[in-house]
C-alpha cells in the first residue's frame, strides 16, 4: 500500500504534538511495510519518499523539477541539518499560531482554475468553502495557499492508493489531491479550531475544517473527546469517524533517570504557553501551593503568545523565585527538565489528545491531567481533574508534596503503564482504516 501524506509538521520541523505524533505514526506504518510519500511545507518543491523505518530520520528528498533534482543530487552535505536547510526546512512552523487580525480578503487561490476541476454540486460547495476561506494576508494563510497549489503537482505525478492529511493546514491540499486523483481521502484530526481557540476561533478555519471533514472518506480522531467535538460542532456523518488514540515511544537515546535541579518538589508545565493549554490555571495552582509549601518550584517550559502575560502575572502575584520560565527548549533540554521534575500538570482547557503527559509519565513524573483531554481516555495512573478546578488541583499537588512516597509510587505506576502504549498498535489500527477505506471506495466506484 502506498500513501500520499500531507502534514505541516515532521521532525525537525516541529512546534508541538502534531510533529511528534506524525513521526511516531509514520515510523510504525513504515514498519508495517506501508510506503509513504510525505509532503511538508518546505521552501523548495520536494516530497519525501519514505520506504524504510530509518527514512523517517534521514528524510530522503526528491525535487519535483528534474533539473533542480539533478543539482540537489550533485550537492554533498556533511550533515542532515545542512541538507534540510537546502530543501528549506528550518526553525519552527507556525502551524498553531492563531490567525488574528483579519485584513482585507484577497482571493489568492485561483478560483476559476480550481472550479473547473469540480463537477458535482456537493464538490462545488466544498470547494467554494475552501477557496472562499483560504484567503487573507497572514503569512500562514499564504503558506497554506502555496502548499495547496503545490498539491496539484504531487497529486498528478505521484503514484499512490490513498491520501492521508493531518489537521486543517493540509486539508485543502488533501481535498485537491482527492479531486485530481480520484483516490480516497483520510483526514486526521489532531486538533480543531475549537480546541486551539478556547473560544469561537477563526471563521475561515472552521469553514476549511468543515469542508474537509465533509469531503473526506474517513476521518481519524485522536480521541473520543475529539470525535465528540467534531460530531457536535461540525455535524459530519458519524459513520466516517474512527477513533485512534496516539501513543508515545521514548527514543532510544533518552535517559529517564532523575537528575534534580531543585531540592524542593518541582512541578512542571510543558507545552505551548497558549490559552488552550491553560497556563493561567497552572499559575493559580502555583500561587495556592506556594502558600503552603514555599520550597516547591513551579517551572513553565515552552513558549507561546501568553508567555509575557503569564510572566507578568506571576510577578504581580509575588511568587518570588519559585515560579520560573525556561523559554523554548530543544529536545535534549525537554528531557533535562523532565528528569528534574516530580509532578507534571496539563491543565488544558481543551486537549484533543496530549502526547506530552505520556512523555512525562515515561519519565516517571506523577501526572495531573485535565479531564478535558483525550489522553485521559488512555491512562489510569494519573490524576484527572477538570481544568477549572484549581482548588482540587492545588490540593492534589499539596497532598503529593506531603506524601513523597505516594507521589513516587504513582509516578512509577504511570511509567509502567505508558511503557505499554506503542505506536505499533496505532499503526495497525490505521492500516485497518486504510484498507477498509480503500475497499469501500472501490466498492462504491465500481
Amino acid at each position: 500500500m502506498k500513501i500520499l501524506m500531507f502534514t505541516w509538521e515532521f521532525p525537525p520541523l516541529i512546534s508541538g504534538g502534531l510533529g511528534m505524533a506524525c513521526y511516531g505514526m509514520v515510523r510504525a506504518l513504515l514498519a508495517l511495510g506501508i510506503k509513504i510519500d510525505l509532503v511538508l511545507p518546505t521552501k523548495e518543491m520536494v516530497y519525501f519518499p519514505l520506504r524504510e523505518v530509518s527514512d523517517a530520520d534521514t528524510l530522503p528528498a526528491v525535487f519535483v523539477d528534474p533539473v533542480l533534482h539533478k543539482e540537489y543530487i550533485r550537492q554533498s552535505f556533511s550533515t542532515l541539518h545542512e541538507r534540510l536547510e537546502y530543501i528549506g526546512i528550518s526553525g519552527q512552523p507556525e502551524s498553531y499560531l492563531r490567525l488574528s487580525e483579519l485584513r482585507e480578503f484577497t482571493a489568492a487561490v485561483e478560483k476559476e482554475k480550481w472550479e473547473s476541476q469540480f463537477s458535482t454540486v456537493q464538490e462545488r460547495e466544498v470547494f467554494a468553502d475552501v477557496s472562499a476561506h483560504l484567503t487573507g494576508d497572514e503569512d500562514l494563510i499564504k503558506k497554506v495557499q502555496e502548499y495547496t497549489l503545490r498539491a496539484e503537482r504531487f497529486a498528478r505525478s505521484l503514484d499512490y492508493n490513498l491520501i492521508h492529511a493531518h489537521d486543517w493546514l493540509t486539508y485543502p491540499a488533501g481535498i485537491l489531491a482527492k479531486k485530481i486523483s480520484q483516490k480516497p481521502l483520510v483526514l486526521h484530526i489532531h486538533a480543531t479550531e475549537f480546541d486551539r481557540a478556547g473560544g469561537p476561533g477563526d471563521e475561515r478555519i472552521h469553514k476549511i475544517e468543515h469542508a474537509g471533514l465533509m469531503y473526506a472518506d474517513r476521518v481519524i480522531a485522536v480521541s473520543q473527546y475529539t470525535a465528540q467535538m467534531i460530531m457536535s460542532r461540525y455535524r459530519i456523518d458519524t459513520g466516517k469517524i474512527r477513533i485512534v488514540h496516539n501513543a508515545f515511544s521514548l527514543s532510544e537515546e533518552s535517559v529517564t533517570a532523575k537528575k534534580r535541579i531543585f531540592k524542593g518538589t518541582t512541578v512542571l508545565f510543558l507545552g505551548r504557553i497558549t490559552l488552550q493549554k491553560g497556563p493561567d490555571y497552572f499559575l493559580e495552582v502555583a500561587a495556592r501551593v506556594l502558600k503552603e509549601h514555599p520550597d516547591a518550584r513551579f517551572i513553565v517550559a515552552g513558549s507561546g503568545d501568553m508567555a509575557r502575560k503569564l510572566l507578568r502575572d506571576s510577578a504581580a502575584m509575588r511568587l518570588q523565585n519559585r515560579f520560573l520560565f525556561t523559554g523554548f527548549l530543544n529536545r535534549r533540554q525537554v528531557e533535562d527538565i523532565l528528569r528534574a521534575a516530580d509532578i507534571y500538570m496539563l491543565p488544558s482547557v481543551s486537549e484533543p489528545f496530549g502526547i506530552s503527559p505520556l512523555e512525562a509519565m515515561a519519565f516517571g513524573l506523577t501526572s495531573i491531567i485535565s479531564k478535558q483531554s483525550g489522553v485521559a481516555e488512555v491512562v489510569n495512573h494519573a490524576f484527572k481533574i477538570d481544568f477549572w478546578d484549581v482548588e482540587l488541583m492545588a490540593n492534589t499537588v499539596n497532598h503529593l508534596i506531603e506524601n513523597p512516597e505516594k507521589c513516587r509510587k504513582m509516578g512509577l505506576e504511570g511509567m509502567r503503564e505508558v511503557n505499554q502504549i506503542h505506536w505499533k498498535e496505532v499503526a495497525e489500527k490505521i492500516r485497518v482504516v486504510y484498507s477498509n477505506t480503500l475497499a469501500d471506495y472501490i466498492k462504491s466506484n465500481s
Partner: protein, 398 residues
C-alpha cells in the same frame, strides 16, 4: 560668586549571563565576564582614558582653580582592576592633584537604602574603605544611588561619621519656586544639601549633540553666558552653586567624540575662570562657602535623577522589578545568616540597581534610554535571567 560644582558618576554593573532554569544547580558563574570586559574596555577607550587625560591637563593648567568631584562605584573599581588597570591609575593621578573630591556611596550602586538599612550601611562603609585603600581618600560628601534621596536618608547618613553634605536631584516638586543655585539643609538642619541644576546639566549630558535642539550647537561661549546670567538674580553677595551632575560616560560614550564634547570641556574652565565672579568648587567646599542661613528642605517622598519623572519608577514601577528586588532582599538575609562570604559577594553584585533598570517597561522617550543601556532584548528577558540567578542562589543556600 557663582561656583560651578562638577560631579561625575563613574559606574559599571556586573551584567548577567543569559541564565536558564536548566543552569540552576550547575554552579555556574552568573556574570558575563566576556561582555563586562568588552564594555569596560570600550568605555575606557572612548571615555575614561581620554577624559581623565583631558581633565588632568585642565587641573594642572589652572593652578588649583579648576576642580571636579567623582563618585566611583565599587563594581566599577573591580572591573577597572580586571579589564582596564590603566583607567584606575589615571583616576589615581587625578585624585593626587588635590583638586578632585571623591564622594561616598554604596559600594554596589544598590537600592539597599529602600529595602535594608543594615545592608545599606554595610555597603556605604565598604565603599568608604575602598576609597581609602585605593586612593587614600576619606569621603565626606554622600550621594545615594542615582541621586535617590528622601528625608530618612539624611537621618541615616547623619548617623555615619564624617558625612556632612548630601547631593541629590533639584526636583521641581520639592524646590517649587526656589532655585537649586543655593546650598540647602536637610529637613532637620543637620546636613548640607546640594541640588542638581538639571536643565544645564542635561544640556551637556543629553542634548549636546541633538541637532533638533534649538540651541544646537552648544558653544562654550553661549553656555558660560547662560551661567553668567544666573548671577544677575543674586544682589546680596550670597555664594551660588551651579551643580552640574552627570554620568561620566557623557564624555565620549553618550556624546561621541565627534560631537565636539571634548573640545567643549577643554575650553570651558578657562572661559569660566576668565570671569571674576565665576569659579569652581567641590561639593564638600560648599558648606564653608555658603555665607548665609541655609533654608531647610523636606523630601517626604523619594526623588532621583532618572527619567522625566525623577522618582523611583525607573527601577521600581512594575511587578517584575518589585518581585525581583523583594526576592533579593529576602535571600540577602538568608545569605547573611549562613555567613558565606562568597555568596554574600554574589548577592551584593545582584543588588546593583542596573539589574532592575533593565526590567523597566516604561516606554516613550525614557524607554529608549533604558533600551540603549540594556544588554538584553527585553525587560522580560532581563527579569528571567535575574530570577534564574535568584533561584540558583537559593539552591546554593540550602
Amino acid at each position: 560668586m557663582l561656583n560651578v560644582v562638577f560631579y561625575f558618576q563613574v559606574h559599571q554593573p556586573h551584567r548577567l549571563k543569559h541564565l536558564n532554569v536548566l543552569d540552576v544547580g550547575k554552579n555556574i558563574d552568573y556574570f558575563d565576564d566576556h561582555l563586562n570586559g568588552q564594555v569596560m574596555r570600550k568605555v575606557a577607550e572612548k571615555c575614561y582614558l581620554p577624559t581623565n587625560k583631558l581633565l588632568l591637563e585642565l587641573i594642572r593648567n589652572n593652578q588649583g582653580r579648576f576642580k571636579v568631584a567623582y563618585s566611583i562605584t565599587g563594581t566599577a573599581i573591580e572591573q577597572f582592576k580586571a579589564y582596564s588597570p590603566e583607567t584606575l591609575d589615571s583616576f589615581k593621578a587625578l585624585v593626587d592633584t588635590g583638586c578632585v573630591e571623591l564622594l561616598g556611596e554604596t559600594y554596589y550602586h544598590s537600592l539597599a537604602f529602600l529595602y535594608d538599612t543594615n545592608e545599606f550601611l554595610d555597603q556605604v562603609a565598604q565603599h568608604r574603605e575602598l576609597m581609602q585603600s585605593e586612593f587614600g581618600y576619606y569621603t565626606q560628601t554622600f550621594r545615594n544611588t542615582e541621586l535617590i534621596y528622601q528625608d530618612s536618608l539624611a537621618d541615616l547618613v547623619y548617623e555615619i561619621e564624617g558625612f556632612k553634605t548630601i547631593i541629590t536631584e533639584g526636583a521641581e516638586r520639592i524646590l517649587q519656586w526656589r532655585t537649586p543655585l543655593y546650598a540647602y539643609k536637610n529637613y532637620s538642619k543637620d546636613i548640607n544639601l546640594l541640588l542638581k541644576y538639571y536643565q544645564l546639566s542635561d544640556d551637556i549630558a543629553f542634548r549636546f549633540s541633538n541637532r533638533d535642539w534649538p540651541e544646537y550647537p552648544l558653544t562654550v561661549d553661549k553656555f558660560v553666558n547662560w551661567i553668567d546670567h544666573l548671577t544677575l538674580a543674586e544682589k546680596e553677595g550670597r555664594n551660588q552653586f551651579l551643580n552640574l551632575f552627570m554620568d561620566y560616560e557623557t564624555f565620549g560614550e553618550h556624546q561621541w567624540a565627534d560631537s565636539g564634547i571634548f573640545e567643549f570641556m577643554q575650553h570651558f574652565p578657562a572661559e569660566v575662570l576668565k570671569r571674576q565672579h565665576l569659579g569652581f568648587a567641590t561639593p564638600k567646599e560648599t558648606q564653608e562657602l555658603a555665607n548665609y542661613q541655609q533654608e531647610a528642605l523636606s523630601f517626604p517622598s523619594p526623588v532621583s535623577w532618572a527619567d522625566a519623572e525623577r522618582d523611583l519608577s525607573a527601577w521600581l514601577s512594575n511587578d517584575m522589578q518589585h518581585n525581583a528586588i523583594e526576592t533579593l532582599y529576602r535571600l540577602m538575609d538568608r545569605v547573611k545568616q549562613k555567613g558565606d562570604a562568597q555568596l554574600l559577594e554574589i548577592a551584593r553584585k545582584l543588588s546593583t540597581s542596573d539589574h532592575f533598570y533593565y526590567m523597566c517597561t516604561k516606554y516613550f522617550t525614557d524607554g529608549d534610554v533604558h533600551k540603549y543601556f540594556s544588554p538584553y532584548d527585553s525587560p522580560d528577558q532581563a527579569y528571567i535571567y535575574y530570577m534564574n540567578a535568584m533561584a540558583d542562589l537559593e539552591e546554593r543556600l540550602s
